[in-house]
Each structure stands twice: as structure tokens, then as C-alpha cells.
């Protein structure tokens, strides 16, 4: 069982985990920024402009493919790591006091990731499939005559059940990021007494701000804070 080279060893798997994770984090920045355009509360015009740019620009479309590859790599790598980690302890402890030495979420990245994946499938079904494959004709055009992805949002988030699932998805993302952000730096060897507090602060801030903004979107629409 040779686990060497750029793809094999345990450490390299973690480097890839960290790199893909940071890449996905960078995507979240773009995603949350564009989506936050809905808070202009201008009937979705700004948001739809952004959405159209994202849908038409060839560079972005290419990046989209890279993004999917990154996501799949993150998932596959995570599954391999998870199964190796399971195998590393064939007999479990009868009593294990994990709370004494680690946060629960740092030891639950696989479960949190899986929850996020389920959420993601639903999320893609709700929006990406419509915007990229089946089309958004159903929602007509917005005031500026652009394709109305915003209209899709308004419709999807009328269902309270969906809103709750989205909020739960954001919670999973929050916990996943809270460990993942810092952890990625550690896996890449970026640990330095002077900069650790900054990384920790950024990680926590990012984990709170981004999922909160995301969660606010369905909530705001459902509660009709924005129309």
C-alpha cells in the first residue's frame, strides 16, 4: 500500500484538502458578494446584472468547471481521508471524552461536509440547474429586461420548509468553516506565533459573516424585508 508522491501520502492528501478548501472559500467570497446585491432591494436589477455576467462571461464559465472539479476533489479527498481514519481505529473506545481536548466540530468535519453536500445538491437544483440548463423563462424578465434569477429566489424562498433547510445549511457551513479555515493554514504549514492570532480572527470572522449573510437571504425574502 504505497501512499507516496503528489497524490498518495497522508500529508499530500491534506495539502490538497487545504488547497481545495481555500479555493472553495475564495468562491464563497464571490458568491456572497454577488448575492448580497439583493439587499439593494431594487427588484433584483443589480443582482440580475451580476448573475447575467456570471452566466455569460467565458472566463467565469471556465472557472465554474474548475470550481466543480475543486469541489469534487475536496469531497473525494475528504472521503478517502475519512475512511482511512476510520480504519486507523478498528476498535473504538467504550468511553471517549472528546470534549476534554477538542471542539466537537473539528472532529466532525466529515459529517458537516456531508450535510453541506446535501444542502448543495438542493441548492444547485433550486438555482444552478434553472439558470444554466432548464432556463429562467418561467420568471419573465426584470425591470431592465434581464433574465430574472431574482424571481426564482423570491419563489423558492416562499416555502418556510426550504428556508429552514437553507438556514440549517448555513449553520453547517459555519461550523465547517470555523475549523476548516484555520485548519487549512495549519495543513499548509502556515503557522507562526505572530500571525496565528490574525489567521484565527480572520477565520472566525469569515465563518460568522459569510454564512450569516447567506442565511439572511432566504429569511429576508420569506419575511418580505426585500421584495
Amino acid at each position: 500500500m504505497a501512499r507516496q508522491g503528489l497524490f498518495g501520502s497522508s500529508l499530500v492528501k491534506k495539502f490538497w484538502m487545504a488547497l481545495t478548501g481555500l479555493f472553495l472559500i475564495s468562491f464563497l467570497v464571490v458568491h456572497v458578494t454577488l448575492n448580497s446585491f439583493i439587499f439593494f432591494n431594487d427588484g433584483g436589477v443589480t443582482f440580475n446584472t451580476g448573475a447575467e455576467f456570471m452566466a455569460k462571461n467565458p472566463i467565469i464559465r471556465t472557472m465554474e468547471v474548475v470550481l466543480f472539479i475543486g469541489l469534487i476533489a475536496h469531497i473525494v479527498d475528504g472521503l478517502i481521508l475519512w475512511s482511512q481514519n476510520r480504519a486507523a481505529r478498528p476498535v473504538r473506545y467504550a468511553v471517549e471524552k472528546g470534549g476534554a481536548n477538542r471542539t466537537w466540530y473539528s472532529a466532525s468535519m466529515g459529517i458537516l461536509g456531508t450535510l453541506i453536500l446535501f444542502f448543495l445538491i438542493m441548492h444547485l437544483w433550486h438555482f444552478w440547474v434553472k439558470s444554466r440548463i432548464t432556463g429562467l423563462h418561467h420568471y419573465g424578465l426584470d425591470a431592465e429586461g434581464q433574465e430574472n434569477l431574482y424571481g426564482a429566489m423570491l419563489e423558492v424562498f416562499q416555502n418556510p420548509f426550504v428556508v429552514v433547510l437553507y438556514v440549517l445549511g448555513c449553520f453547517s457551513l459555519f461550523w465547517h468553516l470555523l475549523h476548516g479555515f484555520k485548519s487549512a493554514f495549519q495543513s499548509l504549514g502556515l503557522n507562526h506565533k505572530r500571525y496565528n492570532p490574525i489567521i484565527a480572527f480572520l477565520g472566525t470572522a469569515f465563518s460568522i459573516v459569510v454564512p450569516t449573510l447567506f442565511a439572511l437571504m432566504p429569511i429576508a425574502i420569506y419575511l418580505k424585508w426585500i421584495q
Binding site: N85, R89, K97, Q186, N191
Partner: protein, 252 residues
């Protein structure tokens, strides 16, 4: 003298191929001045007198430095208390009437020999893969002071070098990873000028052996650092990651 009564739930396993089970033992007359292992001595004494087989557990120096003692006590490596090994755990940390779970280190790489004793030979093999400076014995080496080492580097290297190889890091890691152990040695030698020559090769070889042994992968939960009796820092794991990454991308 002894005033505590305890119930122990101890893992008994007759050999590597036995399935093993948890057995309850009442222990009376436990004094708070006893170490945890002395409490087990008392129980074993009783068992032998009754004609039963005593509980097998590893121990040697009983002063927290040889790394031979282990035990997962009440869900924690080396039991409650920080910066100590099981032999330094004293019964004043428990109270009358307590139930205490005692299990061996659990890891695919540390098979159980009997009861609470496990085989940690994997650590020796990791060490043999590269945890050294290749210098033969010779009466003609340069003077020790010919190579000044900045005190902060020497201190940091020392911190890493205090690893006692007990395996608590593996035992406590939710993934059964041996990164803290491996990192401590790689880090010590990469911080010192003596270790530079074999720096890349060492990181690659020790990680390769670590993987071969069947340890899990580090997910940076930090549990090892907290349960490590010598308080070895995660900083060393980061350094190993750096060393390994650099060695991997630059190796020819």
C-alpha cells in the same frame, strides 16, 4: 490510610486474537497519595492472592519520562490532568465512589498484546526510517562549541525533543494519527544545524513509514497537543507540513 472505594471497568483481553471485554472490579482502601498505577498494583495484588490473573499493563520508570505507561482513563489518554503520564496521575484526582473506565490505546498500528498492554513498535520503525543525524561515533568530531546555535532555536528543538514516545497523541486523536510524534522528531532536527544535511530525506522517509504503519490522517483537531504529557505544540506539526511540502516539490 486508604479511604476511597472505587469501581474499575477494565478492558481484559487474553491476547492479540482474543475479542476482549470490559470487566468490573471494586477496589477498596485507595489512598489519595497513591499513583494510578499503584492503585492498579493493589488490585493486582488482590487478584493474585485470589488466584486470578492480574491485569497486564505497561509501566517502567514511574516518573513520567520513559513513556512506557499508557492507559485511556475515563475517556482520556493518561487520564484527567494535563502534562502528566498515567504513572504521575494521583488518586487525589478522583473521589470516593467514582467509576473509572480503563482501556488500552486504540489504534490499528498499536495492536493489543494483552489487557492494557499494546505494541508500539511502529514508533521505532518511524524513528529508524530517518529520525537521526547520520554521524558515526568518532573521537575526532568538531568541538561542541564550534557550532553555536541561537538559544531560541535550541530551546524550540528541545521542546520538540522532549517527546517520550508514549503514543498518547495517537490514542487521543479521533483519527488515530501519529503526526505529533513524527513531527516532534522532524521538527527537532530541522531546527538544528546538525539536521540540515538530511532534512528533506528525513521528512519524506519518516512520513512514508508513518503512513505504512496504518496511522490515520491529521485533521488539526489539536487533541494531541492537549493530551501530550510533554505539551508538544501543534507548531511542530505545521513545521513538518512545511518540511514535507518543500521536500516533495523539490525532490529530484
Amino acid at each position: 490510610m486508604g479511604n476511597m472505594k472505587l469501581t474499575l471497568k477494565v478492558w481484559r483481553q487474553n491476547g492479540p486474537n482474543d475479542k476482549g471485554k470490559i470487566v468490573d472490579y471494586p477496589v477498596n482502601d485507595v489512598s489519595e497519595d497513591m499513583s494510578f498505577l499503584e492503585m492498579l498494583d493493589v488490585l493486582n495484588d488482590e487478584l493474585v492472592r485470589k488466584g486470578e490473573e492480574p491485569i497486564a499493563f505497561d509501566h517502567d520508570c514511574r516518573e513520567g519520562i520513559c513513556g512506557m505507561c499508557s492507559l485511556f482513563i475515563n475517556g482520556e489518554a493518561h487520564g484527567p490532568g494535563r502534562g502528566i503520564t498515567t504513572c504521575q496521575l494521583h488518586m487525589r484526582k478522583f473521589k470516593d465512589g467514582d467509576t473509572i473506565h480503563v482501556e488500552p490505546w486504540r489504534s490499528a498500528a498499536f495492536p493489543v498484546i494483552k489487557d492494557l498492554a499494546t505494541n508500539r513498535g511502529a514508533f521505532d520503525r518511524i524513528q529508524a526510517a530517518g529520525g537521526f543525524v547520520s554521524v558515526n561515533t568518532s573521537g575526532n568530531l568538531v568541538d561542541g562549541n564550534a557550532l553555536p546555535i541561537p538559544k531560541p532555536d535550541a530551546d524550540k528543538a528541545f521542546d520538540a525533543a522532549t517527546c517520550i514516545g508514549c503514543g498518547a497523541c495517537v490514542a487521543t486523536c479521533p483519527n488515530g494519527s501519529a503526526m505529533l510524534f513524527t513531527a516532534a522528531k522532524v521538527s527537532q532536527l530541522s531546527l538544528l544545524p546538525q539536521g540540515q544535511v538530511e532534512r528533506k530525506q528525513r521528512a519524506l522517509a519518516m512520513v512514508e513509514q508513518m503512513d505504512k504503519e496504518g496511522f490515520g490522517n491529521c485533521s488539526n483537531t489539536g487533541a494531541c497537543e492537549i493530551e501530550c504529557p510533554k505539551g508538544i505544540s501543534l507548531e511542530h506539526i505545521a513545521r513538518l507540513n512545511r518540511e514535507y511540502l518543500a521536500a516533495t516539490v523539490t525532490k529530484e
